[in-house]
């Protein structure tokens, strides 16, 4: 079971909601960028930065921090927004996303923003980097290390063969402190994943590659907490958590629609709202929490 109290869950849900609002605002300000994936991953990012990971916003280079390696860099609006809400940099800086001179590059860049672990954007390389980090850590600390290496990937991204090279190596080396979280939102740019390049059965694939596999509802904090704790307890193989998420989560007119993968509010499909209404309506949807989370906004 999860260790989270109802009070903590309520707090996480409210934080995730504020992060989603920031995502909408920063994307509107940027005028380009990805919307669906960031909204879908807001709960997992919130969980990791507000309880799931060992880290310290006041000391970003803390030696013993857990590492978060983002592989699908295009969902960086949720990454940046969560880091800002966690205290890594001022919330106002989010408005600089994708602008000239900003630390918040369109895809994350470690030279601009040294407090992140890796640059990413071209898909399929994050897991390799996470495996390398964990192997380096093992040289120094052996299996007694208390760090965890969280690698966040998309599902469409698993089309890239390099992932499977890294998966084989992680299993070969039995990297127990590697926790891969796949954002299983079933969409990619050209359509639904099972139409573009079928991934199912993802569970069977990972099991065949000798990973410890869990599948969860990626919007349920108790499920996320339980799965991460389980993954941390596995000692002889790497773990993957296949997190089923809803792309565009929190904004009903964006949910489950792959056309919202790579466009910001104001430039999306007009089935429900005209372009000039999309940003206000997205924020309005997020601010109406009745029935959506355990406790209303207080």
């Amino acid at each position: 079971m999860s260790n989270l109290t109802d009070e903590k869950i309520c707090e996480l849900e409210q934080t995730a909601n504020r992060i989603r609002q920031s995502i909408i605002s920063m994307l509107v300000s940027a005028g380009s960028g990805h919307t669906a994936g960031p909204l879908g991953m807001a709960d997992i990012f919130t969980y990791l930065y507000f309880g799931g990971m060992t880290h310290d916003p006041k000391n970003p280079s803390w030696d013993i921090r857990d590492r978060l390696i983002l592989s699908n860099g295009h969902i960086c609006p949720v990454f940046y927004a969560t880091m800002a809400h966690a205290g890594y940099f001022p919330l106002e800086e989010l408005e600089t996303l994708r602008k000239f001179g900003s630390r918040l590059q369109g895809h994350p860049h470690r030279e601009f923003l040294p407090i992140i672990e890796n640059s990413s954007g071209p898909l399929g390389s994050g897991l390799s980097q996470a495996v390398g980090m964990a192997l380096a850590d093992r040289i120094d600390f052996g299996k007694k290390t208390n760090k965890f290496f969280f690698c966040l990937t998309g599902d469409g991204e698993l089309n890239e063969g390099q992932n499977w090279e890294a998966i084989m190596l992680a299993a070969k080396e039995k990297i127990h402190n590697l926790i891969m979280i796949v954002d299983r939102n079933n969409i990619q740019i050209d359509g639904f994943t099972e139409d573009v390049m079928p991934l199912n059965s993802l569970r069977a694939k990972f099991e065949a590659f000798n990973f410890h596999v869990q599948e969860i509802d990626g919007h349920n904090f108790e499920a996320i907490d339980y799965a991460v704790n389980q993954a941390k307890a596995v000692f002889d193989m790497p773990s993957v958590i296949i997190a089923h998420t809803i792309p565009g989560k929190g904004v009903p007119f964006m949910e489950r629609d792959y056309r919202w993968h790579g466009v910001p509010p104001g430039k999306g499909p007009e089935d429900v709202y005209k372009k000039d209404e999309q940003d206000d309506m997205a924020l309005a949807e997020l601010r109406t929490l009745g029935g959506k989370i355990k406790c209303g906004d207080q």
Binding site: I69, S119, P122, S128, Q129, G132, M133, I139, A166
Partner: protein, 332 residues
């Protein structure tokens, strides 16, 4: 004559000069680098023996990782290790690393600016019988174009050893180009070597007429051509340019001003290689006529190494002819 300050081998022009594969120097240097610094780690893509990583893997088994035939993973795993403070050396054939994993090198190594060292073995057509698929003649081009990358192409096994040791300490992404075949030794342990420096290997006593700037195994051939030219009364200097990036601009500029005609020599495509790097620099600073010795926009094929060097226009006669051709262009 050979530059006495460089303490080069005295038997360069003997028929029985000593040869070693350039890759062997990498293997020896890597073991030494591993002894000097425990942060040095080795990763290989199923070519431990032929890329000469065997010595390191045996002496430091806990710091060696067999990645399998997976060069993209090889590059990015090394990037992750470097981000954690290690100094990773990755090795494969140059055709596969940096050939196959270019984008991973660009993004996860160079864009991250982490000190991964890429040893590309079996570069050039002198790989021989394996044929064109295995002959990397584009590697200098694709490495020197990436920001943050240092590119070194040693002329012999001893220089490769020194390059490996210095690469372990330079804190930057670094490509070291290695050749498979036994290559005559030119340098000695006492020969100076710094990353970013070019060396005046051979200087004729005659009037300064043509400068040959060479990199890699062909520095030897260039030196023999210079001697032949000197005997015919033509004043030729040979500059060994082991570091293709960053260029030793001072030496290149001085040589251009002194000789006012250049032949560049490399076992690589003429396009975008070392000669191109030199012409990019000189055309903006001190334009002089340049002839390029290298592969001219074709793929390699099976054959004996020397046969292929001759066939693709990189043999001593080709260099000699280029020297004469560039002389005719000097006052045009």
């Amino acid at each position: 004559m050979l530059n006495p300050e460089l303490k080069l081998r005295k038997d360069i022009f003997d028929d029985k000069n000593e040869s070693q594969p350039i890759r062997a120097g990498f293997g020896i240097g890597l073991v030494e680098a591993g002894r000097k610094n425990e942060k040095v780690v080795g990763l290989c893509a199923d070519l431990v023996e032929s890329t000469k990583m065997e010595g390191f893997s045996k002496e430091f088994p806990k710091r060696f990782f067999e990645i399998g035939v997976a060069e993209q993973n090889l590059a990015s795993v090394a990037s992750g290790m470097a981000a954690m403070g290690k100094i990773p050396f990755i090795s494969s054939y140059a055709m596969f690393s940096p050939g196959r994993n270019w984008e991973q090198i660009r993004t996860t190594i160079c864009y991250n600016d982490v000190p991964v060292k890429i040893a590309g073995s079996h570069a050039g057509v002198s790989v021989g019988p394996d044929g064109g698929t295995h002959q990397a003649i584009e590697d200098l081009a694709i490495m020197r174009v990436i920001p943050n990358m240092i590119v070194i192409s040693p002329c012999d096994a001893i220089e490769a050893k020194k390059a490996t040791l210095l690469a372990a300490e330079n804190g930057k992404p670094t490509y070291i180009r290695l050749a498979r075949e036994a290559t005559p030794l030119i340098t000695t342990e006492e020969t100076p070597f710094e990353i970013g420096k070019a060396y005046r290997v051979y200087e004729s006593k005659n009037k300064k007429t043509v400068a040959i700037i060479a990199t890699g195994a062909l520095v030897f051939n260039a030196t023999r051509v210079a001697k032949r030219c000197e005997e015919e009364g033509i004043g030729v200097i040979v500059v060994n340019l082991p570091t293709v990036k960053p260029l030793d601009k001072e030496t290149i500029l001085n040589v251009a001003k002194e000789y006012r005609a250049i032949v560049t020599v490399e076992e690589h495509q003429i396009s975008c290689g070392m000669g191109s790097a030199i012409s990019e620099f000189l055309v903006q600073n001190f334009p002089v006529p340049i002839e390029f010795i290298g592969v001219n926009d074709v793929f390699g094929q099976s054959g004996k190494p020397q046969q292929l060097i001759e066939h693709y226009g990189m043999g001593e006669n080709s260099i000699y002819n280029a020297v004469h051709k560039v002389i005719t262009r000097k006052h045009v």
